[in-house]
Amino acid sequence: MMVFILKNVSKKFTDHEKDLEILKDIDLYIADGEFLSIVGPSGCGKTTLLRMISGLDFPSNGIITENGVHVESPSPERGFVFQQYSLFPWRTVLDNVAFGPEVRGMDIEERYNLVRKYIEMVGLSNFQDSYPNQLSGGMKQRVAIARALVNDPNSLLMDEPFAALDVLTRHKLQEELVRIWEEEDKTIIFVTHNVDEAVFLADRVVVLSQRPGSIIKTFNIDLDRIRDRTTSEFLEMKKEITNLLESD
């Protein structure tokens, strides 16, 4: 079953009466429960593509549907994890994660029980009363993931969420994300410029060209998880995608 269908999607920005073409003729089908990664060089429009799937931005041409319904505005059904830190600094970890259930009007006891479960899932139970400025970058992104998951979305859209983290933290969070994906059965669309990350995480890697971004090639990654970065298949796949990006 397809969740997201993108048909002939293009995006132009108009700046000083000059059209700037960001994305061109994107056709993409994303299956239910799939872990899809989108890689591409900086400025190729991959973030814009993800924002359009979420409803934060709109295509200039073409259509995007989720389960047959036109995507018109952001929804808690499509959890979004931003690249930059997006936690509300005036709320504790607990109340950041509680934001979604709170605006939905869930009663307070049920809300906090649910929230604690998700904070535990990302391993931050000891920090539930901390404020974001007391957390490390990796912890902030864990909270952001919990904050999106607590709404029980169909899909999780992630925009280079681990880009600012050091390698060790990034690897740890990648493993946890795979574990969460396996447990929670969500569709994940993960944008990154890091080929290693894409190959480690995804079932399928979509490679975008330089601006205006269009799909050059799609790779199916058929390796068992948690993936071993040192196997020849892993390295071979990485090399192939990297070569493709560099030759573009």
Binding site: S73, P74, F80, S86, F88, W90, R91, G100, V103, Y131
Partner: protein
């Protein structure tokens, strides 16, 4: 403690020079600047006869009332102006023209609209403090990091919830700055406000003392206003520190 001591260095030096130039050498005659001793005597006199305390209470009442009305108007309006480009386009020009008008220029209208006394005083203080609160609030709302608003919408908040649960708390530091500046100006307006039909208050005390050439009492009134301002500054600063982020 160390900070308190450091902050007292300059006032101490001023008082020493002030005393040297007046009481001890007479270089500056007392009709130009009263000596520290004269001011102290005036202070004790005003304190003992109760004027100083009752004037302080009167002024505080007017300032706080005018300030509350100003905040009640300026905070919601500032949030709306900061949030909606359209409303800013409608109101920006008008506010731009009204803002630089000195509060004292409104006195004739204050008398016509509110009569002599409390109403006029509150109005003058309102005019003085409404704009800094308004401008800072609008500015704070405009500067909110877009990612907070977008996060809220991806988490299911509607416009009103976003405004209440994200925009207002995110703008709170700027709102408090606006309140701080607004309170400073409210206090600066006390003399103007109490020119109209008041027969008490620190502004009135300064005006009457000045007209009777009692400059020592005027200085007592001035310093009292200064201390009140310092007190409010302290209150708002501790509110800022209590924001936790």
């Amino acid at each position: 403690m160390r900070k308190t001591l450091i902050s007292l260095v300059v006032p101490t030096i001023i008082i020493i020079f002030w005393a040297l130039l007046t009481t001890y050498t007479g270089i500056i005659p007392s009709y130009l600047i009263p000596s520290p001793h004269d001011v102290f005597v005036a202070f004790i006199t005003l304190l003992v006869n109760g004027t100083l305390i009752s004037d302080t209470i009167e002024t505080l009442t007017r300032v706080i009332l005018g300030f509350i009305v100003a905040a009640a108007v300026a905070i919601p309006l500032g949030i709306i102006i900061g949030w909606s480009k359209t409303i800013e386009n409608y109101l920006g020009f008008t506010i731009g023209i009204l803002r630089p008008i000195p509060p004292i220029a409104w006195i004739p209208f204050a008398i016509l609209w509110f009569g002599l006394g409390l109403g006029s005083a509150i109005f003058i203080i309102f005019v003085g403090s409404v704009f800094p609160i308004l401008i800072n609030t609008a500015d704070g709302v405009k500067r909110i990091d877009k990612v907070y608003v977008e996060s809220a919408s991806t988490l299911g908040a509607d416009q009103y919830q976003t405004l209440r649960k994200v925009v207002v708390p995110a703008a709170l530091p700027n709102i408090i700055t606006g309140l701080k500046v607004g309170m400073g100006i409210a206090l600066m307006c006390t003399v103007a406000a109490e020119m109209i039909g008041s027969n008490n208050g620190l502004g009135y005390l300064i005006l009457t003392a000045t007209s009777m050439l009692d400059s020592a009492s005027a200085i007592v009134g001035m310093l009292t206003i200064g201390l009140i301002g310092l007190g409010f500054e302290y209150i708002f600063s501790s509110m800022e520190r209590n924001l936790n982020w």
